[in-house]
């Protein structure tokens, strides 16, 4: 009872179409740093949302014991009152408010309804000292870097008298110095008696800092390891996370590569928000018909920015460079031009840029290719339905009918709708940005099959992905991008994760 601060047992959480968590167990000892590892979409974040009350009691099955008591959290407020604070990947700070205001947001230091500013700033300074944040409490959040913002989040948690601190990918956006500082801070908090749960993809950090690790795969608990007792190494964790032979994750594919479809030369793009900063710097690449080409790069390398600036200048300013379609120079000034020249771009952020979530499947599929279903501006609704029904079958979209609202579909099925939408425009070149993000393993295989099929139809496909195994398993050739520059071009037979990673980090001094 006293040894474990948290016990979650038999947690099952179902979304329409997907079982996100199935009978998951998690036990965290008091005063330890407990890591949770798993692939994208394994269910780590869902589990934390269950714990913190984002998915309230009753929407999941199973039992949560915190400090020996059964918990039935109805909201985040409930879990915070119990002493559980979660810090999400996307920081929840208000950029125009000061550090001190953010630290006490929702937890204001007030006397009879009026904010006590002296106390606010004084106590904020105290908390900032604890997390090692050397700034003035009245500085606005927008004026400090991401690393320091992360510290503000932790200070905010401390202000709530946290007993269990959950960090979701805390170092994903941080540079090495900031990461090291953050890990030191977590060790310090542990010594003060605060239990930490950390979700991380960076296994070297996990082995460096964690006392135990729980591995989750496909929505199930695989194992919990004691780092010291079990002599856990990175390879040991990977074995648990992957748990299946790598070679059957990808459908077999023999490419038939044809002539050049798209060539980009000396492509340079400046940031719209930070004047003078080059986001893409003199990038050149070539895509051929029937070929699946990968684009590898770390977060912030400029992958999405490169793709969107090519796709009708939807990102960036002062764009320069040349685009050749089928060997002829073309001018692409907007999305309509891009579609007319046979380009398609399936976004990494489906909900924001890809879909109209309140609309049904058929109207989402027809959104980009509507002109092709219309005569003199009039849409042939019957043809639209028929086409949607064809995609419903050929793409295996799991929904009762094409009249179903897209917002209710699972991630994998939403992605199939996005792909259908672009296939309908009959493109020659498809740029797929993180095509399997947030999709469960079975659906990933289906998406890979679709990508292979598109290549076999003679289309050129550019796949952008942060998962190197995916690029290695899927692509015929991989470009690496680092700080906006193309640093390498590796054919499939020569590509290894180490080689790509080396090129992806090249020039980052």
């Amino acid at each position: 009872m006293t040894e474990h601060i948290l016990r979650m047992s038999g947690i099952t959480k179902t979304f329409p179409g997907v079982k996100a968590l199935q009978d998951v167990n998690l036990s965290v000892r008091r005063g330890e740093i407990h890591a949770i590892c798993g692939e994208n979409g394994a269910g780590k974040s869902t589990l934390m949302k269950v714990l913190s009350g984002v998915y309230p009691y009753g929407e999941y099955e199973g039992e949560i014991l915190f400090e020996g008591e059964r918990c039935e959290f109805g909201s985040i407020r409930d879990s915070e009152r119990a002493g559980i604070v979660i810090i999400h990947q996307e920081l929840a700070l208000s950029p125009q408010l000061s550090i001190a205001e953010n630290v006490f947001l929702g937890n204001e230091r007030a006397k009879r309804g009026l904010i006590d500013w002296n106390r606010t700033n004084y106590e904020a300074a105290e908390l900032m000292r604890r997390v090692g944040l050397d700034e003035n409490p009245t500085t606005a959040i927008a004026d400090i870097g991401v690393g320091k913002q992360q510290l503000v989040e932790i200070a905010k948690a401390l202000a709530k008298e946290v007993k269990l601190l959950i960090l979701d990918e805390p170092t994903a956006a941080l540079n090495d110095d900031d990461s090291a500082h953050l890990l030191d801070l977590l060790r310090g908090l542990r010594d003060e008696g605060i239990t930490c749960v950390i979700i991380s993809h960076k296994l070297n950090e996990v082995t460096a800092i964690a006392d135990s690790v729980t591995i989750i795969r496909d929505g199930r608990t695989i194992e919990t390891l004691d780092m010291a007792k079990d002599h856990v190494t990175e390879d040991r964790i990977i074995a648990g996370m992957v748990g299946r032979a790598l070679d059957n994750r990808f459908p077999p594919h023999e490419p038939t590569i044809g002539g050049e479809a798209l060539r980009i030369e000396d492509w340079t793009v400046y940031s719209p928000s930070q004047p003078g900063r080059k986001v893409v710097d003199g990038a050149s690449l070539t895509l051929r018909r029937g070929e699946i080409v990968g684009l590898a790069g770390l977060m912030g390398a400029g992958r999405t920015e490169l793709a969107m600036s090519v796709f009708g200048r939807t990102y960036g300013v002062n764009i320069s460079g040349k685009i050749f379609k089928d060997g002829k120079p073309v001018e692409i000034r907007n999305v309509q031009d891009a579609i007319r020249h046979g380009l398609a771009y399936a976004t990494e952020d489906r909900k924001r840029y890809g879909l109209n979530l309140i609309e049904d499947i058929k109207r989402n599929i027809s959104a980009a290719g509507l002109q092709g279903l219309a005569k003199r501006g009039w849409v042939n609704e019957y043809e639209e339905y028929k086409v949607a029904e064809e995609f419903h079958k050929s793409m295996n979209i799991k929904a009762p009918s094409v009249d179903s609202v897209v917002g209710k579909l699972s991630g994998g099925n939403q992605q199939k709708v996005v792909l259908s939408k672009w296939i309908l425009t009959e493109p020659d070149v498809l740029i797929l940005d993180e095509p399997t993000r947030g999709i469960d393993v079975g659906a990933k295989y289906e998406i890979y099959t679709i990508i292979n099929r598109l290549a076999d139809e003679g289309k050129a496909v550019l796949v952008i992905s942060s998962e190197l195994p995916e690029l290695l398993g899927l692509c015929d050739r991989v470009y690496t991008l680092s700080e906006g520059r193309i640093t390498g071009e590796v054919p499939r037979r020569e590509a290894t994760q180490e080689r790509l990673m080396h090129l992806m980090t090249k020039g980052q001094e």
Partner: protein
Amino acid sequence: MSSITPADVEVGAKGDGGAPRQPGRVSLGGLSLNLRSSGIYIAFALIIALFSVLTDGALLTPQNISNIIVQNSYVLILAIGMILIIIAGHIDLSVGSVVAVTGALSAVLMVNMGLPWPLALLITLVAGALIGAWQGYWIAYFGIPAFIVTLAGMLLFRALTLTVLGNQGIGPFPDQVRTLANGFTNGYLGNIGLGPLGGADLFSLLIGLVAIAGMFASQWRSRNARKGYGQTVEPMALFVLKLVAGAALILFLVVQLARFKNLPWVLVLLAVLVLAYSLMANRTVFGRQIYAIGGNLQAAVMSGVKVKSVVFWIFVNMGVLSAIAGIIFAGRLNQAGPTAGNSFELDAIAAAFIGGAAVQGGVGKVVGAITGGLIMAVINNGMSLIGSPSERVMLVKGIVLLAAVAFDVWTKRRAGVSR
């Protein structure tokens, strides 16, 4: 996020491959969906029934029906333009002032300058389009929120009205314009006896029958086309029931009007506008793009929708419809006055929201907005028939608006559609 009811889980189809298409479930789902989106029409029917009882049937007498239509035609015309703007996620607060300034312009052209009325009408409509283009430019191309641009427009065009009119009314209008606003079709074919109902205008009745026949034919054709494309259609009994109900409604309306003074010209105009704009919203690329913009602006941009141009043109359209409403309002009063159109924008916006438009955009129907406008019209008319003071009418209208939007938000939350 939002709660998930067992029914939704079922709809989401568990990973069992393929899509189960049991006809029973689909039609059941379709019916429940229909109930949700048809709540507004049921509410309309209930309100009519309520006031029929409260007024001892005075609400549905021939003359009163005619009054309701003629007195509210301009707000209904505005509601058609407003619903498109609200679907796209914008708002227009200036329509009342645009009604005033276009009415004033038409008065100056026809009365002071003595231009022939068709020419004056045309110039006024062009002026309405230019006003819409002015606002559309600032909103679509310059990027100022519509709320601000049209709030400024509300002041600007009211000021312009006062300048043009020099603080006094201008009238009277030519007979033709007054007939359009206030008049009725002639009894071209004479009267016909309807037994106990007395005499009625044959021409009006024939128009009604033609409308019913048109409705039957188009519904039948669309049903067959759907079947031809392998879509599921509603059961025959339900289909026939709907048609009969629709026919009965049209017939009742036409017979009542034919017994009074024949068809009001504004009703003819309204019918044409509603039909044309419903088709435009649902069946044209332009109409679809309005929904796409309101549903997810970013996704619309990334799908190649020319967002700026679409937004610009729906404001131009609003300007033209405001000009039509302006002429009709001035013609009805036989005078263009400085306070014309006061608070019309609020009535039009309320009509759109009562009629099922979503506050965040992306949802709404032209017919819904018209129904919303008629609900308010019936409440207005019914309450004044039973002698309620105007403050009580206002109170009831406010509650109805709030309740309608609350109902919309509530059903959406229950449906579990996350945005």
